[in-house]
C-alpha cells in the first residue's frame, strides 16, 4: 500500500458552500398498517457537520433513515439536497446524488468476497458493461479497506468474516460512493474499540471534506464526543434539535423519554411473604454470544419486568427458558425441580410454562386458522378423547375463553387474521390461559396494540398475577413495564446491569442502565 493515503472516490468530493444546509427533510410522515412510525418529522443537516439522531427503541430512527436513503417512500413530506428534491424510494438514484447510508444490519452478501461486496450494483466495467474491470476494483477496494484499518484478505467470502469485519465491509461499501451525505445507523454496535477508532478517524476526515454525517447511536458518549447537533425522536415525532454543547447526558435522556415522567408505577403490592418458594429460579445461565451470567427469581403472583434495548438479549433469554433455544450453561429450577439438560418446549409446557412471543403474527398465531383453532391449539390432547378430537369440548373451551378474555370477534370460526391487533393478542394469551400455567413469559405483549386493547391486556396480566401465576414481562414500552412490574431487571449487552423495585424506578434510571458502557453512568 502506498504511504500516501489516497482514495479515489473521496478525492473527487467537492466541498459544498458551508452556508447551505445540505440535506433537508420536511414534514416526513410514514405509517405501517395502522401504526404511525413517523409523523411530520423535519431534520436539517449541515455540510461538514456531524448530526446525531437519538431516540428510544421504536422512536422512528430506522424508518427515517430508510426514507432518507431511498429504501422506503414516505407517505408525505419532502427531502431536498442543496435545494434539489431527491428521488424518493430509489436507492440507486439517491446514492448517485451523494446520499449514502450504512444500515444497522450490515448490507453484505455472505457468499461473495469483499471486492464483489463493495462493488455489486455499481460495478466498474470496460467495453460498455461487457467486461468487469476486476483489477481496478480490487485496487480501489484494497485502498478503502486499508484506510479503514482493515487488513483481512479480500478474497474470502464475507460470510466467513467476523461481525465487526462485516460491518466494516458495509462501511467500505458506503465510502466507495462519492458522498455528500453519509448516514450511519448504529455503526459501532458490533465494533471493537480499535475498529470504532478507525471509524471515527474516517468520519473526521470526511467531515473535513465537507461531508454531512447523520449519526445514530445508543452510545451517548459517542454522541457527545462526535456530534455538533442532536435531533431527538420520540414516538415518531421530533422532540427537538439542540447543539450537543448545550445539553447534558441526563437532559438528553429526559428528552428521549419524554414528559417529565410522573411515575405510573402501580401501588406497591401487598408485600409477598418472602418465605414463598420461587416459581422460577435461574442460576448462571449462559448462551453465547447473546447472554451471560443470568441470575433471576420469580415468585408466585409476582411480575418481573425485563427491560433493555433491542438486542440486549431479552427475547433470547425468554426463548431459552421456554426451551426454544439451547443454553450453554446454567441451572433452571421450576417449582423446585431442576430442568434436565437439553430440555425442550414439550418439557416446559408440560411443567406449566407459557410464552407469548414477540412476533405475534408469525410466532404467536396461525393467522389463516380460526379463532377456535388458535385458542385450542396448545390443548388439543387435553380436549380430545379416545377417538380423537371432540367438537363439543373445543366449542365450550373456545366459547368460555372468548368470553373470559373479552375477544371481539364475529364468531369463533372467524380467521385470526380478520381480528385487530389487540384481539389477536388476547387470543395468544387466551390459548395459554386455558392450560392454567404457573409461569407466563410475555415478550412485548402490547406491541402494535391500540390504546384501549392495551389497557385490557394490562388488566389481564394483573389478573393472572393475582391468580398466583408468576410473570416474566419483557417490554420496550417503559411506562408499561413500570406500571405492571413488581421488580425490574435491566439487561445490557446480554448481562443483567441492575435490579430495582418498580416503585423506586424511573424511566431515566432504566434507560441509564440500558445504555451500554459509560463508567460514570451509575455514579
Amino acid at each position: 500500500m502506498s504511504a500516501v493515503w489516497q482514495w479515489g472516490s473521496l478525492s473527487r468530493v467537492r466541498t459544498p458552500k458551508p452556508t447551505m444546509s445540505a440535506l433537508q427533510a420536511k414534514q416526513i410522515s410514514r405509517s405501517y398498517g395502522g401504526t404511525r412510525a413517523l409523523s411530520e418529522v423535519s431534520i436539517e443537516l449541515l455540510p461538514g457537520s456531524i448530526h446525531a439522531l437519538c431516540g428510544e427503541n421504536g422512536a422512528g430512527k430506522s424508518t427515517l433513515i430508510k426514507i432518507l436513503s431511498g429504501v422506503e417512500t414516505p407517505d408525505s413530506g419532502e427531502v431536498t439536497l442543496n435545494g434539489q428534491p431527491i428521488p424518493l424510494g430509489r436507492v440507486h438514484a439517491v446514492e448517485q446524488i451523494g446520499i449514502v447510508a450504512v444500515h444497522q444490519e450490515p448490507v453484505v452478501f455472505p457468499h461473495l468476497n469483499t471486492v464483489d461486496n463493495l462493488f455489486v450494483g455499481r460495478e466498474q466495467s470496460k467495453v460498455g458493461g461487457l467486461w468487469l474491470n476486476k483489477k481496478g476494483m480490487r485496487e480501489q477496494a484494497c485502498q478503502i479497506m486499508h484506510s479503514l484499518g482493515e487488513t483481512f484478505s479480500l478474497d474470502i467470502p464475507v460470510g466467513q468474516l467476523s461481525l465487526a469485519q462485516r460491518q466494516m465491509v458495509s462501511m467500505g461499501r458506503a465510502l466507495l460512493q462519492e458522498c455528500r451525505i453519509l448516514i450511519l445507523d448504529e455503526p459501532t454496535a458490533s465494533l471493537s474499540a480499535r475498529e470504532s477508532k478507525s471509524l471515527f478517524a474516517t468520519m473526521d476526515r470526511l467531515q473535513q471534506q465537507g461531508v454531512g454525517i447523520l449519526y445514530v447511536s445508543h452510545r451517548l458518549e459517542e454522541v457527545f464526543q462526535l456530534a455538533q447537533q442532536v435531533t431527538i425522536l420520540r414516538d415518531g415525532q421530533c422532540a427537538g434539535t439542540q447543539p450537543t454543547s448545550s445539553l447534558s447526558r441526563s437532559e438528553l435522556i429526559r428528552m428521549m423519554v419524554g414528559r417529565p415522567v410522573e411515575n405510573p408505577s402501580r401501588q406497591q403490592k401487598k408485600t409477598k411473604s418472602k418465605s414463598d418458594k420461587p416459581i422460577l429460579k435461574i442460576r448462571g445461565m449462559r448462551r453465547d454470544p447473546v447472554f451471560q451470567d443470568i441470575h433471576l427469581e420469580i415468585h408466585a403472583g409476582e411480575i418481573l419486568g425485563l427491560s433493555g434495548l433491542v438486542g440486549a438479549g431479552r427475547s433470547e433469554i425468554a426463548r431459552a427458558i421456554f426451551g426454544l433455544d439451547p443454553v450453554d450453561e446454567g441451572e433452571i429450577w421450576f417449582e423446585g425441580r431442576c430442568l434436565p439438560e437439553g430440555f425442550t418446549i414439550q418439557d416446559t409446557m408440560a411443567m406449566g410454562m407459557a410464552m407469548v412471543p414477540e412476533d405475534r403474527q408469525r410466532e404467536g398465531l396461525v393467522l389463516p386458522a380460526s379463532v377456535e383453532d388458535n385458542l385450542t391449539l396448545p390443548s388439543l390432547i387435553e380436549l380430545s378423547g379416545w377417538m380423537g378430537m371432540h367438537r363439543k369440548p373445543r366449542h365450550e373451551a373456545s366459547r368460555s375463553l372468548i368470553e373470559q378474555m373479552g375477544i371481539k370477534t364475529a364468531s369463533r370460526a372467524s380467521s385470526a387474521q380478520s381480528l385487530s391487533g389487540g384481539n389477536q393478542q388476547k387470543i395468544v394469551l387466551g390459548k395459554w390461559v386455558y392450560r392454567q400455567p404457573r409461569l407466563f413469559i410475555l415478550d412485548e405483549p402490547t406491541r402494535g396494540v391500540d390504546v384501549g386493547a392495551k389497557e385490557e391486556v394490562h388488566r389481564m396480566i394483573e389478573q393472572l398475577a393475582a391468580g398466583g401465576s408468576a410473570i416474566l414481562l419483557i417490554s420496550s414500552d417503559m411506562p408499561e413495564i413500570l406500571r405492571l412490574s413488581d421488580r425490574i431487571l435491566t439487561l445490557c449487552q446480554g448481562r443483567i446491569k441492575g435490579e430495582i423495585a418498580s416503585h423506586e424506578a424511573t424511566q431515566e434510571i432504566l434507560l441509564q442502565w440500558a445504555l451500554p458502557e459509560e463508567r460514570d453512568a451509575l455514579s
Partner: protein
Amino acid sequence: MLGLLKQRAAGLFCFTFLALGLVSLINPAFLAWGNLRDIAVQAAPVCIISCGLMLVLVLGEIDISVGSMMGVLAASMGAMVSATRWGLSPWIAVILTMILGTLMGALNGWLIAYLRVPSIMVTLGMLTALRGVTEVIMGGTWITDLPPGIRYLGTGSWMGLPICLWVCAGVIVLSTWLIHRTPLGRRIFAIGSQPRAAHLAGLPIQRVKFLVFAWTGFLTALATLVSVPQLSVVDSGIGVGMELLVVTCVVVGGTSVNGGTGHLSGVVFAVLLMTMISTLLIFMKLGENATYWSRAIQGLFILGAILLDHLVRSKKSS
C-alpha cells in the same frame, strides 16, 4: 465454503474418471471414440439448459418447466419445417424457435419477478400447461418429415465434432463470462446470497430475475434445436422428465438450493456423470435389469448432494 465447493467440482471430476476407469477395465469397449462421443452428444442439451438453470437456483428460485418448454419448442419447430404443415425455411424456423423459447422464459420471469408469484407455483403451472400446448400442436400425430436442413443441426458435425458439442462449448464459455466478468453475473449471486441486503443496496432485483428466466428459456430453445433433429421423428413426449434431470445435475454440481452459490465446473461434471450412469450400467455387463437402476442411482445422487450441502451448512453455523 468456497474451498468445499471447489472440492465438489474436483470430487465429481475424480468420481467421473474413477467410474470411467473401472468400467473400461470391465469392458474396454467403453472407451471407444464412438461411445464417448455418444455420451457427450447425449449430455450436451442437458448441459446447455443446466447453464441457465444454475443461475435460476443461484437466485434462490427454481424452474421446473424446462422439460415442457422443450416439448412445445420441438413440436412447433417440427410443425414449422414440416412440408405437410407450414413448410417454413429451416433458417426462419431456427430463429422463431429461439424467439419463442425466450418469450416463454420471459413469461415465467415476468410472473415471478414482477407479479411476485413463487417460482415453484409458476413453473409447476407451466409444466402442465405447456405439455398440453405440445399435444395441441401435435394433434395426436407424429412429425416424420424433418427436412435435411434441420436434421443437419442434430446429425451434422464441424471439424470432426457434432454441432451440439460446439453449441454446448459456446454456452459454457458464454456463461463463464457472464458469471465472472459482467455486472449482471455478480448481481445474480448477490441477490441470491442475501435478498434483504440486495434490497437495501438498491439492486434491480426484478429485472435480474426476469432476465435470468428469459435466458433459461433461450437456452432451452438452443438445446431443443441441437437435440431434437438427431432423430427423424418428433413426438409429443420430447422433454418429459428433462426438468428433473437438469435440476439433479445443477444440485449435484454443488449449486446451493438456498441460493447464493454455484460453480459452473461442478455442474458440467455433474451433467457428464448423470448422463453416463445408464451407459455405464450397460457396459458393466450386470445383466439386463441393471439399466433399470439408473433412475434410482440418479435419485441417490441428488439426495447425497443435498445432504452434503446441508451438513456443510450446519457445520458452518455451529
